[in-house]
Amino acid sequence: MAEPGETGAETATEPGGVVLDIARLDGLRRLIGDAEFQRLADRFLGDLSVRVVAMGRLGVAGDYAPLAREAHSLHGTAGSYGLATVAALAARIEAACAGAGSAETLPMLAALSTAMAASVALVTEHFGLDSST
């Protein structure tokens, strides 16, 4: 199998323990330029918030099959954008939905929401992004 993306050596960590692969995002910004990076980040960070809120609703409703699909998708997407903690939490939620621990998803979803907010703040601050867009 081809090697999946690896976590870069350079990471940023918030006091709350949220890990972000800065090297990956920095490398991408250098290659595509600031304007395209801003456009990409706007799209991803906005989408991330919508997805996490939707997942929270699915968790409260006990709709574990669609929640597992959303978590699976978020794992791949957030990880590819370098949001390591969000990706890891999404993978845990997917596994919990598939197993007997569906009731464990609510605290995991709360942790995901917290990690998402911290990750968005960290990306916005580190890259000096215009958060109003």
Binding site: A2, E3, R24, A78, G79, S80
Partner: protein
């Protein structure tokens, strides 16, 4: 040259994934970083409708999609004579040994694990191309 004849160089990539945010990142990676010509499709049926006109050198295919999933799309692609030699690579977070073996049995030349590094993805795709065309 007809689409069914294997090309020596890798230029045209078809990327199929239902996640628009990941598709945007992947398109930027493959086009801007890798220099490829990329067509993206959001579903298996859309890919099947577009693939012959686009004539890709290689297809990158998400596994878990609503409706027609990646394996189902691959099976349908293989029924199109003009595309029977076009390599297909699955892209998935489900990459245990058993799953990778199953994807290969289905006809995928390789599997790229999600998440992936968008800076490194083009080189990964080229390496797979060299292996399957070597």
């Amino acid at each position: 040259m007809s689409p069914s004849e294997p090309t020596l160089s890798l230029s045209r990539l078809l990327y199929v994934d239902d996640d628009p945010t990941l598709t945007l990142l992947t398109r930027i990676s493959l086009e801007r970083v890798g220099g490829f010509t990329v067509k993206t499709c959001a579903s298996g049926p859309e890919a099947l409708a577009e693939v012959e006109a686009f004539a890709p050198d290689l297809i990158l295919l998400d596994v878990m999609m609503p409706g027609l999933d990646g394996p189902g799309t691959l099976r349908a692609l293989r029924k199109i004579p003009a595309l029977d030699s076009v390599p297909v690579v699955f892209m998935t977070a489900m990459v245990t040994g058993d799953e990778v073996a199953r994807y290969r049995e289905l006809g995928a030349v390789d599997v790229i694990g999600k998440p992936y590094d968008p800076v490194k993805l083009p080189d990964l795709v080229r390496a797979i191309w060299r292996r399957c065309r070597g």
